[in-house]
Amino acid sequence: MKINISRQYIYLLAILLLLLVFVLLFSFTVLIPKGKEYREDRIEYKKASREFRRYQNFHSEVQEKLKGIQAENRHIITAFDATFNKERFEKQHRDYFSSLTLSRLSNTALEDEFISYEVNTTSEISSPKSFYDFLDAVNKSDWIIAVEFPINFKRDGEMIKSSFTMKVYAVHKESNATKRVVE
């Protein structure tokens, strides 16, 4: 039996096969691996962006916490940042004393991120109550001040002469931990 196929159909079949092979090869060697890569990248991207959103939320939480703590401790932060001003202190606390003299002692102690320096105080008060009021006012002053021992009270006629040392605490400006960047 003789199969009679024209040359034209043979050509047609050849082109068909050639193109089919090309399509299959392109699909299996290029397109499908690229599709797999795309799918993996998309999953990875979604995972990364989900994690990033979580991180952003955490960042917002920390920022809120920082703002809250800054608002709560505004007075303390400002007081630690403030440089002690002798004249201003005398002006603010003059009401508690008949006379008030401050002399800054030279020794400055550096403790981690903080510095502290001592101020010698001599004053005259009319009654111990003035001194109690002064101690109350010191806690609300513009600086962080600790009244130190020894404290001397000496009667001088109707007045009481008092002398004591105050330790003023401040932030060491060059310390890395103290740099306030956020906001």
Partner: protein, 179 residues
Amino acid sequence: MKYSYITPRRKSVLTKEIQLLLTFFTITILMLFVTYFFLLIKDYTYVDDMNDIAISRSDLEKDIQTMKAQITFIEKENLIAQKIYTKNIVLKDSITNLFDLVPQRITLSEAKLLENGLILYGITPNKDIYNFMLQAPLRSIFHRTYSSFYPAQNGWLRFVSTNYIDEELSLSGEVYNED
């Protein structure tokens, strides 16, 4: 000489079948290429976006570390400030208690408040009043109490009362070093 009575039809390489075939495969290959380029572009965008996310995340991490350090520092400041404030209040209470301790009949001329002690100078009508009304409460507070007397011009007695606490934890303590 003619062998046929009909005119021969013109033959072309691009027969209808081949045209159909080529159209079909052109569309197919075009679609494959479009899909491939779409994947390429999307893939590039994802990689690019992931790099951006990594950079932003690194910035956020640094920011969070800075903020955490600030929170820790503010908490430290707050702790120190609270200790100092408490110390000042305790000091005030100690001085109030000291002056409340001195009876009406005894007059103080000088008081020295030390870290671990108290020195009082004053005048008393007699030793008994001093012993019962001042020394007794002082003894209950301090571990060591020493008193010395010498006569005043008006017949009363001048006294010096020196009192010490032996404990390491005295009235004040170093506020900062307590950490």
